[in-house]
């Protein structure tokens, strides 16, 4: 007979579960409400979702750092807190975009389940980042991904279906690689918990070269899965198609939240190797990051559609982030979060601006929804919108003083610091490659600015700003303000992030 196990409630440290629990309960609440009365307006759900997210943010913010809960399964360290906050904030900006028009304007918003699924997805991502157990990471990842596939498909256009199925299939393959990577690590160390794995590897450090092969095998397999989610070359191929097929805000959301969640996971997994000074891993990541940013930049350069361009650009941003990730210094890791925080406001804003001009039937073009031509002469048609979009583009290009400049500055600074500290010219080359890529990137962002500001407007009835609405304006206005005034809050933000990241030992 088995001994009964007694577990004290305190030792579970349930508070660490609270953020995810709030999201899940919120989702269930929405489902229940829908169950009772199915004629309720979506505004209710939007507001409910926002409230839940607010509470969630509060709960996350009030977490004590570096606590574990639930048999050490949950980990509320700085990384998880800061990434959850960014995820939740991005979600908070994303949800009100649903208010853009009446219930029947867009297919997905007609479902209350949309919001439930959204909250489930958020919970999934939260689980992903607040654990260092590969099992929970995987389950959280799949929960979030499955919701995301559905959310994309619910847009219910041909593009959305195609996008969902592409994303889904590639995601399944990536899941296979993730699992195979886990197998490799598990086989090597006998554990699926990263902190244990780190300990074991460290203790075995002596004859590390003998282990190089299985270790690198695990890293490579994991990197395929990570590469898929954060869209590194050549696992990025879903990105432009899926972004194009999904609704614009969803695309913007996808360019931040899933990537950030996966970056945190990558930080946890590859951090082990990097902390062990296994340089091969750093080099591997850096090389693939450089290839990613360069090629995606070049491809972005030749896009005809703004949304696709932004998709490629977000791939290149991911390359940037991964390059910093490979350094493993506190500054590099902090810079990643700063980067994402800054990227979030800008990129969400940019995609939301696309949303304004998204139309159901009046496709601008046989092929594209948002070709550059559509934005011709926007300055004379809708000056405020053009200015704001221009600011977002400049911010993406890294022109000071807009938000992403600070992210870029700090990120490149971390690379340069690393180069000086290690006295390795390689990293200076990396920094230069990164800035050269920024310069290439500037071209395509500028291309949109040029279209908006410097070209003559098209004949008047071809462009419909059908989605312009007050909630949208408010969201975009807030995002624009945050983008412009970044110089004033960089300091506290940086302080906060650095504190969180460094206190959890990254």
């Amino acid at each position: 007979m088995l001994e009964p196990i007694s577990v004290s409630l305190e030792s579970l440290n349930l508070i660490t579960l609270s953020p995810m629990l709030i999201a899940i309960v919120g989702a269930l609440l929405i489902l229940v409400i829908d169950l009772f009365k199915d004629t309720l307006d979506k505004t209710l759900y939007v507001m409910l979702t926002m409230l839940i997210l607010f509470i969630d943010i509060g709960a996350t913010y009030s977490l004590n750092i570096n606590e574990r809960g639930f048999f050490d399964l949950l980990l509320a360290d700085g990384l998880s807190v800061v990434s959850q906050l960014i995820i939740l904030l991005a979600s908070l900006f994303f949800v009100p975009l649903a208010l853009t028009a009446s219930n029947k304007r867009f297919h997905e918003y007609a479902y209350p389940e949309y919001f439930a699924l959204f909250l489930f997805m958020v919970a999934g991502f939260q689980f992903m980042v607040s654990t260092d157990n590969l099992i929970l990471i995987f389950v959280g990842l799949e929960t979030a991904s499955l919701s995301l596939y559905t959310l994309i498909a619910m847009h219910n256009t041909r593009g959305a279906h195609e996008a969902a199925v592409k994303y889904f299939t590639m995601g399944a393959l990536a899941a296979g690689f993730f699992l195979m990577g886990s197998v490799a690590i598990y086989a090597l160390t006998g554990s699926v918990e990263l902190y244990e794995i780190a300990k074991i590897l460290q203790s075995q450090g002596a004859d590390e070269s003998a282990l190089m092969l299985p270790m690198m095998g695990g890293v490579v397999l994991m990197l395929v899965a990570v590469g898929f989610k954060v869209s590194l070359f050549p696992f990025h191929m879903w990105t432009p198609d899926v972004y194009e097929g999904s609704s614009a805000p969803m695309a913007g959301y996808m360019s931040i939240v899933p990537k950030l969640a996966m970056v945190v996971v990558a930080m946890r997994i590859f951090g082990i190797y990097i902390n062990l000074d296994i340089e091969a891993v750093s080099y591997l990541i850096i090389i693939i990051a450089v290839i990613t940013m360069t090629l995606s930049n070049m491809m972005a350069l030749v896009q005809k559609d703004v949304k696709r361009m932004l998709a490629y650009s977000s791939i290149s941003h991911a390359g940037f982030v991964m390059a910093a990730l490979a350094l493993g210094t506190t500054k590099a890791n902090s810079s990643i979060f700063l980067y994402y925080a800054m990227f979030m406001v800008t990129n969400l804003g940019a995609f939301a601006m696309l949303w304004i001009s998204q139309h159901k039937k009046k496709h601008f073009d046989e092929r594209y929804d948002h070709p550059f031509e559509k934005f011709s002469g926007m300055i004379s048609v809708s000056p405020m919108a053009a200015v704001i979009m221009g600011i977002f583009m400049l911010s993406l290009a890294g022109v000071p003083p807009f938000s992403l400049f600070w992210g870029k500055l700090y990120l490149i600074s971390s690379v340069v610091d690393f180069a000086v500290a290690t006295a390795e010219t390689k990293y200076i080359v990396l920094a230069i490659l990164m800035v050269l890529n920024s310069a290439i990137a500037a071209y395509y962002y500028l291309k949109l600015v040029v279209y908006m500001f410097l070209k003559a407007p098209l004949a008047s009835d071809t462009v419909v700003y059908a989605n312009q609405s007050r909630p949208l304006n408010v969201v975009i206005g807030v995002l624009a303000m945050v983008t412009i005034t970044s110089i004033f809050y960089v300091q506290p933000l940086l302080e906060f992030i650095t504190y969180l990241v460094s206190s959890s030992g990254y």
Partner: protein, 640 residues
Amino acid sequence: MENLVYIALFAPLAGSLFAALFGMSKKNIITGIVTSTLIFISFVASAILFSHVMTVGPVHVRMMDWIMAGDMLIPFGFLVDQISVTMMTVVTLVSTVVHIYSNGYMDHDKSFNRFFSYLSAFVFSMMVLVMSDNFLGLFIGWEGVGVCSWLLIGFWYHKEDVSREVNPSISPSWAANEAFIMNRIADLGMLVGIFILYWNVGSLQYDVVFAALPNLSDGILVAAAVALFIGAMGKSAQFPLHTWLTDAMEGPTPVSALIHAATMVTAGVFLVIRANPLYSMEAVHWVSYFIAALGTFVAVFAASMALVNRDLKRIIAFSTLSQLGYMFAAAGLGAYWIALFHLAAHAFFKALLFLGAGNVMHAMDGELDIFKMGGLKKVMRWTYLYMGVASLALSGIGIAGIGFAGYFSKDAIIEVAFNEHTYVLWTILVLTAGLTAFYSFRQVFLTFHGNERYHALGIHPHEMYGYVLVALSPLAILAVVAGFYKDWFEHFVTKLLPEYHMSEHTHHIAWILGLLVIAFAVGGIVLAYIKYNRGLKRNEKLERSFVYRLLSNQYYIPIFYEKTISKPYAALSRFSWGTVDQKVVDATVDGIGKFIKTTGDTTRKIQTGNLSDYLRWMAGGALLLVAIAFVAFKLSQGAH
């Protein structure tokens, strides 16, 4: 005295600015009167200063600081000593005459006011040039006269460019640009000279520099001397930078008289005289000798071209060139005061000659070809007289201590050449004296004597206005009598300039030498009389001969410059622009952009839209990662 210095200096500027106020309006005689008066005031001030310098000594004023940077301190300082006061007096005197003359000469020109503005500005610049107490101040004047010369040569800017065959100067604006650019080439040399002095002495004040010369190494002295002389070569139109001077005759004749005969072109000589402590240094001996040799060469070279020229003003211009050669010969040989004396004397008779030519031109409705004139003495008595006197002075006619101005100054130079045992130079100079006499009188006879060829052109010549003729009289008088003040002048300037004494031997045979020169001069005149007194008999065969064509085409030097410098420069410029800049430099930049774009277009094709391909890329990517991991592993191994 300080006030007088400022009056002498700024009166012309005031005149210029006054005239400039009316620059764009119709002719206003007041501008002419005001400017002339102001220049005359300047002359008076200069004359008083002259006597002051003579009796009391030099005046040195320092108006204000100009440039101060690092250790460099350049003030606006003015030094009125024997050299500068001589120049001031000569310049203002000639200027006064030219101003008055211009009132008459320019009276039909619609840009009358503008002309006086430029002319007075020139006088101001020239005064700055001669009065400055430092090299950079001299450079201000140097460049200033250059600009005024540019403005005045190009005064009739509206004339069209014509081919070199029709008008060797192409057009006034062309000639102006040529003059400016050629001067600029020399100015660079001058600037370099200034730099050399500054960095080795630490100052550009004349007194400081000259005091420091003995401490400088030979190389630096030579470099400075050469660089400064290059500057002088440009302004004084020495070979090979001489072509601009004859082309400068496109300007109105008073301009030619003032700038391109009497004053500006002598600035180079002035510089050498001013910098005499430098050129007297033993280390720069060879440079000085080179100056003398070049001067001698230019003397004969210019005279030879004058022999066949048909253009009244160009003949005089060549003669100016030739006389500048004389001056350099004197300066180079160390006889600075003689050079200065010749400079002054030359200013009087050459200005007179030019102004006389201006009268002729005025009478002939702008016609300058002496082959088309003849017999003008009947209608233009006074002009004939003036030009005759000036030509006699130029030819250096005189005997036994009595003679025209040129006799004293030029003879002295020839004597110096003999005295220095530079017999080759001496020979050439003597020969040149003969040539000078010949071409001067060829021109006089062809213009004033013989048959009246102008009737064919339907021109009715008339004499110049009376007041103009009166105004010319001081020059005529000076051309006659200036020589008598030689000893007095020597006494005056050698307080500052090194004395120059003929050796005993030279002194003894001086009268023979003088006679020889006179013989050549008279011979030239006689030859000219024989050939041209009765009128023009053209010798077709001679005119077709190689030598004649060589001379009349100025040794083909302008064409040579055009073919070897201007045109290749233009072609090279077009090449730089069309090929290098656009097809290489810019194309590289655009090429990088295109390369990135092309790569993007190519890479983009992997994005086929087909899920199957994507999945394969993913699997392939896994293998790629393996490969990269291998590379990374090797890299990390290599690092340790």
